[in-house]
Symmetry: C2
Subunit: 375 residues, 2 copies
């Protein structure tokens, strides 16, 4: 594609694949887009292992890493200890989660023990943890580093600049884009309220032109609801330089969700997602399920990050395993982050085929518009 961003990043087609799955990341990069590995739920050691695999399997094509690096990194020691964190999870929330699981026949006796395994999420978000993750990321020849939540702190900007790696940052509102541009980010990802995972309330159709209007020339990638090349062309008609997609890879052969979740997604309509604070404490879009229904209707008010994760994640990991092995109650409870675009994801496919479909869809959309200008 004739695109400044493609030339800058050394890619053929400005389709960015956010994925927690190394196979998806490598396959998208090989196919001409750019895979971006979502590392927030990995330890630094796991991240190294995954990036080694990606580096060995991407045919030398560019790939990136997505982290959550807190805007203000505090001095080491200023953060709560693991024991403090675990102790500050309110019993009310644990009880509610257990009660919901009980109701669907899922035993809860081993969840407290599992809670400690989730601490890497909070480690990754504190100072020392974030620096460890940055160390690992920059030890690879990454071509993009993204911050999933908030303005990247100076340490992240400086390391990226020194390494010559562009920094991308996700924004859900125009005012956040203005802050990010002032902080010097190289690429803005405008994520509409229809996006899977963390998202705001402004739709992609409105947010993209709003963010472009304050980007001062910084390239804007459109995220939220985009699962086809026609939608990518739509975003680019509004001034985006490309598309940032997460959901569409989930139902591919390579996608990491278990088959039970893939089947739910393939059957879901666009009305089958909900933006809820019950998973992480911040609003994030996911499949509606008996779990999300219970929290929305009568759950206690969600806790701030990372505490809500320490409640929800042990429960949902257990549910996911049981659902996959045929447990009916768990199958009703199981959920997964996905955007409203799930309504358009109706066929099992492969990652490479998705990229090819995007290219064809994009071309068809542009040709369709060109035809409207004919005399």
């Amino acid at each position: 594609m004739n695109s400044d961003l493609c030339r800058q990043l050394g890619i053929e087609f400005p389709l960015f694949a956010f994925s927690h799955c190394r196979d998806v990341v490598a396959a998208v990069s090989r196919a001409g887009g750019m895979g971006v590995f979502g590392a927030v739920m990995y330890t630094p050691e796991q991240l190294r292992t995954e990036l080694e695999w990606i580096d060995a399997n991407c045919d030398g094509k560019p790939y990136g890493v997505d982290l959550i690096v807190p805007t203000s990194i505090q001095k080491q020691g200023a953060e709560p200890s693991d024991a403090d964190l675990l102790a500050s999870v309110p019993q009310e929330h644990v009880d509610f989660a257990n009660q919901v699981l009980d109701q669907y026949g899922v035993a809860t006796d081993d969840l407290d023990a599992a809670r400690g395994d989730l601490l890497m999420f909070s480690h990754n978000m504190n100072s020392a943890g974030a620096q460890d993750m940055l160390d690992v990321a920059f030890s690879f020849p990454i071509k993009l580093i993204a911050n999933a939540l908030g303005t990247p702190p100076p340490i992240m900007m400086e390391r990226a600049k020194a390494a010559g790696v562009p920094v991308a940052a996700l924004v859900g509102a125009k005012k956040h884009a203005e802050l990010q541009v002032a902080a010097g980010v190289d690429i803005l990802v405008a994520a509409g309220g229809e996006a899977g995972g963390h998202c705001g309330e402004i739709s992609t159709m409105v947010l993209v032109p709003e963010v472009v209007s304050v980007a001062k020339g910084t390239p804007v990638l459109a995220a939220g609801g985009i699962v086809t090349g026609q939608q990518m062309a739509a975003a680019m008609a509004m001034g985006a330089a490309g598309a940032w997609c997460g959901s569409v890879w989930l139902t591919t052969a390579e996608g990491e969700p278990p088959q039970q979740i893939k089947d739910k997604m393939l059957a879901a309509t666009s009305s089958d997602t909900v933006r809820s604070r019950s998973r992480t404490g911040k609003g994030s879009r996911q499949l509606k399920s008996a779990w999300t229904d219970a929290w929305e209707v009568k759950g206690p008010s969600p806790l701030p990050m990372p505490l809500q994760t320490l409640v929800s994640e042990p429960a949902l990991r257990k549910v996911e395993k049981l659902a996959q092995s045929g447990h009916d109650g768990a199958a009703e409870l199981s959920t997964y982050w996905v955007g409203q675009g799930v309504g358009l994801m109706n066929q099992a496919t492969s990652t490479t085929a998705v990229v090819q479909d995007f290219k064809q869809g994009y071309l068809a959309a542009v040709e369709r518009l060109m035809a409207t200008l004919e005399e």
Copy 2:
């Protein structure tokens, strides 16, 4: 534009202006789009007066009418009387509305008397009323008739067919589009959750391709968040045949809202709207205000149509008048239906200038996309 829909309707540019204001309707039609007069809050006599004016002022260009005709028209006499309707408004809701107004210094002693004036809204939605409105509409050379809510009943379809007038219908979900296509509508309006007024929860970016996928060739207009030609091109990249816009006309010189509301809209960001059931009983998007905040936070559960309108409308009409005359409390309460696109409506302008901007923006967007295909 080279477009089947433009040829079918005899228009130059497939931009449809939904407006309660005859000046906007006529100006858009004169400028090459199609004005569609939103008649639901008018009596049949008022509708006749407005259509006479439009017909005399549109330079012979095509225009349309938008009604709410109930899907199942009942036999005359089967509907509640005016007295029954007024008597069935719960005191709890009236009390809550009065209490909110009291708190902002707005007197409420004349609201009960004003409630009866709102009955034309429910008249228009019952059998005899709907037929009266259809009689008036079809006595003019309209080129489009739209149903704002639900599937048009056979009587509407038959009269339109006999008159050779295409029928449009608004849909907020794919399954509704399937029903409308089966009912034989000629044009689908896919209205995303970011739209002003009644809307669903699926965003325009997702809903448009979903509706196109089941339209079986029926032209689809995209609605929701669209206030620029670039966004119109975006919708058409996804298969829409044009755009249906309501919000963008509100801040024009011709737009019907009082200046106090126009000023609020020009200052509003895309985060300053809320989808609430407190106005009509169904989810509709409007400016956030002290009124909508009060209902969202602690209001009684909204009533079914048309009862909630009989509570909200007398209050908000009074608020609107007082706000316009400088009453501070009323200025905080005042609200108006508008979509998230309000965040992109930042300059006072004219209706004709909006149409011209759309044409230029559309062209610029298509040229931008064409440039990406250059070698």
